[in-house]
Structures are given as structure tokens and as C-alpha cells.
């Protein structure tokens, strides 16, 4: 006889990794569906993934560099802004997608079982897919400005940035996704939160403006700020703040586990609540 499955109320916490591996193909299918659906009806299709960061860069350059004359650590402002924006976009679209993912997929959740974590995870994978296009724009802009670039540093700093960002996004995303099922208020809270965080993080301005004692520590602990600084450093030549990377990595891990824990704790009841 084949394996025994037991269905009962979960008393102990588990990550459910075994199950996730069994259903691994669903990651691919959910991500693939979201990407297909996102670009299918658009006449310009995937071009949007390129245009979006490009347009954002142009707008911010206009406002912050030409208009407000923001200090950009000695590199061309478009390169400066884009180095922050590519990381920021993983976070903002990943968070928005994953936090709403359980509600938008409620009809599926109510009718079929599979590990629920797949849904917010795929939402972030979709954001990473867009990131790949943004990266092309990013490299294009760097080459265009011909600024001195430490390519070796780009090579190792980008993965670190992505890991920090994805961990944070995933933690916060699953946390909010779980709360969103229970309290629909979060549907309205999340867009505000993302706007707020855009201005709190050194996406459009340099983190050097924070030179007060406690603010420096906040920046050191902030995984997003570190992710942006470390990848930006490849152009500005600002040394890597390894202490900050280490500390914020721990913060990111903490957020990641709190998110998954909350999600796993409540996921069994999603079908009843959604």
C-alpha cells in the first residue's frame, strides 16, 4: 500500500518543506500564469517591463536632479536613481503582489488544496522576472553614461542585494498576505505603506544624508537600505558596509521567519475566511 496521509488539526509548527518540494512545479505554473496574463493583453507586451524602469528613472531624474538638485554621490543621477529603483521595484511589486495574492486567488484556495506558500512565493518570482528586464535597462544606462564601474563588484554585490531584498519582501509579503485574508483593511494599507517606504529608504537620495547617531543605526539594520547601498557602491566606490550587511541580513531573516510563521499558523483557515 502506498504512503499514509493523515488529515487533522495541526498542533505543531512545521515549514512543510517536503510538501513544497512535492508541489514544486506549481511555482513555475503560477509564476508563468501571472507573467502571461500580465503581458498578454498589452500591445507592447514585454516592452513594458523595459519601459517602466526607464520612465521612472526619467521622471525622478527630472524632479530630484534637475529640480531639487539632490546629491548623488558623484555619479550621474540616472545611474544613481536606477541603481536604487531596480532593487526597490523587486520589493514594491513583490510586496504588493504577494500581499494581495491570497485574496486574488481565493477561488482556487477554496476549491483545491496545495501548499499555500506557493502563491505568495510565485508572486515574488513574478517580480523577479520583471527585474531581469529592468537589469537590461540598468546595464544599458550604465554603458551609455560610460561611468567608471567596478564590474567585479557588480557581480558579487547584486546577488547579495537580491537575497536581502527577496528575504525581506517575502517575509513582509507572507505576513501581510495572511493578515489580508483575515482583515481586508490591509488591501488599503499596503499601497500607503509602499509609498511611505519609498521615501524612507535611500532609493532616490543618498543614505549619506543620515549622519545622526540613531539614524545611522536604523539604516544599518534596514535590509533594503543595505541592498541599495551595496549595489550602488559599485559605481560610487563607497566601500561595502559589511557590518550593516550582516546586521540587516539577520533582520531580513527575522522578517522572513516571522512572515512564514504567521502564514503557516493561519493558512489552514484561509479557505474558511476567504
Amino acid at each position: 500500500m502506498s504512503t499514509e496521509y493523515i488529515i487533522e488539526r495541526q498542533h505543531r509548527f512545521s515549514l512543510g518543506l517536503k510538501e513544497l518540494i512535492r508541489y514544486r512545479e506549481l511555482f513555475y505554473f503560477f509564476t508563468w500564469r501571472d507573467i502571461k496574463v500580465k503581458y498578454k493583453q498589452a500591445a507592447l507586451g514585454f516592452l513594458w517591463a523595459v519601459l517602466q524602469p526607464l520612465l521612472m528613472m526619467m521622471i525622478f531624474t527630472l524632479i530630484f536632479s534637475r529640480g531639487l538638485n539632490v546629491h548623488s554621490e558623484g555619479i550621474p543621477y540616472p545611474v544613481f536613481a536606477l541603481s536604487g529603483l531596480v532593487i526597490w521595484n523587486i520589493f514594491s511589486s513583490g510586496l504588493l503582489n504577494s500581499a494581495n495574492s491570497m485574496v486574488t486567488n481565493a477561488n482556487i484556495i477554496k476549491k483545491i488544496y496545495f501548499p499555500r506558500l506557493i502563491i505568495p512565493m510565485s508572486a515574488i518570482l513574478t517580480a523577479l522576472f520583471d527585474f531581469c528586464f529592468a537589469l537590461v535597462v540598468y546595464i544599458g544606462v550604465i554603458l551609455y553614461y560610460g561611468h567608471h564601474t567596478d564590474w567585479l563588484r557588480v557581480f558579487y554585490s547584486l546577488p547579495i542585494s537580491i537575497i536581502l531584498t527577496v528575504l525581506t519582501t517575502f517575509g513582509l509579503g507572507t505576513f501581510l498576505a495572511a493578515l489580508n485574508v483575515k482583515y481586508r483593511d490591509f488591501q488599503y494599507v499596503i499601497p500607503f505603506m509602499i509609498q511611505f517606504l519609498l521615501f524612507v529608504n535611500p532609493v532616490l537620495y543618498s543614505s549619506k544624508i543620515f549622519d545622526h547617531g540613531w539614524l545611522v543605526w536604523v539604516m544599518k539594520l534596514n535590509p533594503l537600505a543595505n541592498a541599495i547601498n551595496i549595489s550602488r557602491g559599485a559605481f560610487t566606490g563607497m566601500p561595502v558596509d559589511w557590518e550593516g550587511v550582516g546586521l540587516s541580513f539577520m533582520v531580513a531573516m527575522l522578517i522572513f521567519f516571522i512572515g512564514i510563521y504567521t502564514f503557516r499558523k493561519t493558512e489552514a483557515y484561509f479557505a474558511d475566511l476567504a
Partner: protein, 414 residues
């Protein structure tokens, strides 16, 4: 033999707070963080109450019961969608569930893409879908539209594609909710045939349906749930018999009118007694109200069947517009059918009403309603009483013994 499914003391409680939405608003929690019993109306409702049964490999089980009896909750627990409050289920095989056809279908994706999406949500691996792909498309009959977005499909095509995917699942246990209620008669037949095939191949099916004839053809054993409790777990015919005999006896069946479509909106059964009990040999009437969207619609046909508790039709009657003009008025049309002295034998029966159009062969409605019971009221009992299930029809006849009329066998009135 070891059972494939062991359902042990399953209880599922829901907390109902009156009219409140199942999800909460943050404000409610923030404004009253210490009061766990919000709104003071934290009523607990047991959708399932200590349900236990076990299923042997290869057995097909029907699950019947009225709306709200807990059938769907039971299926959701078996599918792992929602956990039981108490008790547990031990399954010795993979359970796949089909609570809805086309879960995860997306209108923007093509037919081909949806097969993969839906298949993988249902728990199929990609290679399994690849393997069955041709068979799925063949079964659905939509090969021409494979690369057309689903939103351009008719609802019938979507349904066929969805069922085709589900039909190629190969789990040890298949849990099926009332998914066949949709779709035309031909499609339903195809689905039932496929499910029959599945159950004969030694896999287990748990099947919920209101269609008792589907349940009785597909399953040998039935679980009859009533208000979350197991009323009986027995052979299908016994369970169905118990079910029909406890059904609420609504002599009047009301259906909301469908705009722009001929609809039977009301069926009233006029039995000789109250509570849908009919005395043998007495006049039985059927009254129909039919809503017509426009006047002078031709070729309408109304027919009614009486089924017995085993879902066999025992009586049929009809009225066709081509023979007798009917339903020519816009709005409500009334039609009555009367049997002056119905000789149905004692037992439980129900009606099946058909509304159709004969020329284009449009079937507008087919539904079951008005269960009733025939009793041998005020009839002289034979020595051994009026036994059940000896016949459906009883009429006067005379016995000739040695060429002499010996006895007139007739249910004499007292």
C-alpha cells in the same frame, strides 16, 4: 482488507456571528482588543458532528443529504482544504479532489495553457499532463480551439475541457462534488461513464450529488448525512430510501424565473392528504406555472415523470404545443394535469419536470421536485398487510379458479 480511507470522529465547528462577514475588520479588533468574543454573538455551529466511516479500496461511496447537511464540508476536509476541528482522516493513498470543474482556469490563457495550469493545480505532474495531453484534448473535443484564449470559448466548451483534465487524474481516491449538475445531458452521460470507468479500475470515488439516479448508478454504498451527523451508512438503495422518506415534503416547488427564457416557476402537487401524502386510487393533480418571455412562442413541450425511490420512472405524461396549443401567452401560463384515480402502489415517489422546445430541440429545464408518499389509506388490508416494495402499480383483477370467478382482487375501500 485494509481500508483506504478511515474517517475518525470528524467534527467541524464554525463560529458564526450573525450577519457578520467571515473576515473581520481591523477596526473591530483594535477597538476591542481584549474581548475575544466580539459582538457577543459567537455562536458555534457544528457543520459536522462526530462523523466516522471507513472506505475499502475500490469502493465508491455516495454522499447524500439535504443542503447544509455537511456534505461539502466533509469533502473540503477530505481534500485538505480546511482542517477538522476534531478527529482525523487516515488516507492510504493520494486524494485528488474535484470540487469544481476548471479551478484555476484563466480567461486570458489559451486552452492548451489552461490544461497545464488546471492539471498542475489538481496535483498532476507536468510529465503526467504531457502523457495524457492528447487524450484530454480528444475527450474534450476542442482541438480546433487549442490556441484560442479561454474567454472566447462557450461555457459548454470550457466545461468539457475542464472535465477532460479532471477525468485524467489518477489518484487512489477521487473526491467529486456536485460538478455534473452543470452541462447538458449528453455531457453528463459522458462524465458518468468516465467515472464508472474510474471506479471499475479499482479506484475509490467519493461522490456528492443531488441527482439520486447518478448516485445509485455510480455507487453501491452511501453515506446519508443529516445536520452534520451520519444518519446511515448502508447500501445505496437503503440510504436513498431513508433519504427520500425524510425529505421535507414541499408540495409546492418554486423556481425563480430566468429573464428571457421560458421557465417553470412553480410546481404544485395536489395530493389527497396534507403533508404530500396521497391516498391510493384518489385523484392526483399537478399544477404548473410557466413564465414565458414572449407571446406566441411555438413548439413548447411540457412533460412530467413520476419516479420511485429507486429512481426508476414509473409514470410519464406530456403535452406538446404541436398537438395542443400551450404556453402561447407572454407572462405566467397555468397548466394543470390530473389523474382521476391514480393506481400507484404505496411507496415514495417524486416528480421530474421537463420543459423543452421540440423544433430546435432546446431543453430549458429538467428538475426533480415534489417528493410524495402514496399510502393505502382507507383500504381493506390483506392478511399480511400492505407490504413495501412488492410492486409499483396495483389494479383490480379477477382470479378464475376452475373456470369460476373465485375472487375479485381489488383494493376495496373500507
Amino acid at each position: 482488507m485494509q481500508s483506504v480511507l478511515d474517517i475518525q470522529h470528524i467534527t467541524k465547528e464554525f463560529i458564526i456571528g450573525g450577519e457578520k462577514a467571515p473576515y473581520q475588520s481591523l477596526r473591530e479588533v483594535l477597538s476591542n482588543p481584549f474581548n475575544r468574543k466580539r459582538n457577543g454573538a459567537n455562536l458555534k455551529f457544528k457543520a459536522l458532528d462526530d462523523v466516522s466511516f471507513s472506505v475499502q479500496p475500490g469502493e465508491s461511496i455516495g454522499i447524500i443529504g439535504r443542503n447544509g447537511a455537511g456534505k461539502s464540508t466533509l469533502l473540503k476536509i477530505l481534500s485538505g482544504i480546511t482542517p477538522p476541528t476534531e478527529g482525523r482522516v487516515i488516507s492510504r493513498g493520494r486524494i485528488a479532489s474535484l470540487l469544481e470543474v476548471g479551478t484555476g482556469f484563466h480567461p486570458e490563457l489559451t486552452g492548451r495553457e489552461n490544461v497545464y495550469m488546471n492539471g498542475s493545480i489538481l496535483g498532476m505532474r507536468k510529465w503526467e499532463i504531457d502523457k495524457h495531453f492528447d487524450a484530454i484534448i480528444d475527450f474534450s473535443g476542442i482541438e480546433k480551439f487549442l490556441d484560442t484564449p479561454l474567454k472566447r470559448y462557450s461555457s459548454g466548451m470550457q466545461l468539457r475541457l475542464a472535465f477532460a483534465v479532471a477525468a485524467h487524474l489518477e489518484p487512489e481516491v477521487l473526491v467529486v462534488d456536485e460538478v455534473l449538475a452543470v452541462g447538458d445531458a449528453e455531457f453528463q452521460k459522458k462524465c458518468l461513464g468516465k467515472m464508472n470507468e474510474v471506479s471499475r479500475s479499482g479506484r475509490t470515488i467519493l461522490f456528492v450529488s443531488h441527482d439520486l439516479s447518478a448516485v445509485s448508478t455510480l455507487t453501491r454504498k452511501c453515506l446519508f448525512l443529516e445536520r452534520g451527523k451520519v444518519r446511515c451508512f448502508d447500501t445505496t438503495s437503503n440510504a436513498i430510501n431513508q433519504y427520500t422518506s425524510t425529505q421535507a415534503r414541499h408540495a409546492i416547488h418554486i423556481i425563480p424565473a430566468v429573464p428571457g427564457r421560458p421557465t417553470v416557476t412553480k410546481v404544485e402537487l395536489i395530493t389527497s392528504e396534507n403533508g404530500s401524502v396521497h391516498g391510493f386510487g384518489l385523484p392526483l393533480g399537478f399544477e404548473f406555472e410557466i413564465e414565458m418571455p414572449e407571446a406566441e412562442q411555438r413548439n413548447m413541450a411540457l412533460s412530467v415523470q413520476v419516479f420511485n425511490h429507486l429512481n426508476f420512472p414509473v409514470l410519464y405524461n406530456w403535452v406538446f404545443d404541436i398537438e395542443t396549443p400551450i404556453l402561447r401567452n407572454k407572462g405566467t401560463n397555468k397548466i394543470k394535469l390530473e389523474y382521476p384515480a391514480l393506481s400507484l402502489y404505496k411507496g415514495n415517489y417524486y416528480l421530474r419536470v421537463h420543459l423543452a422546445e421540440t423544433k430546435q430541440k432546446n431543453k430549458f429545464q429538467e428538475f426533480d421536485c415534489c417528493p410524495f408518499e402514496v399510502e393505502m389509506l382507507n383500504r381493506k388490508e390483506p392478511e399480511w398487510g400492505w407490504q413495501e416494495n412488492v410492486c409499483q402499480y396495483f389494479d383490480t383483477a379477477s382470479w378464475m379458479i376452475g373456470g369460476q370467478a373465485a375472487k375479485l382482487q381489488s383494493p376495496q375501500q373500507l
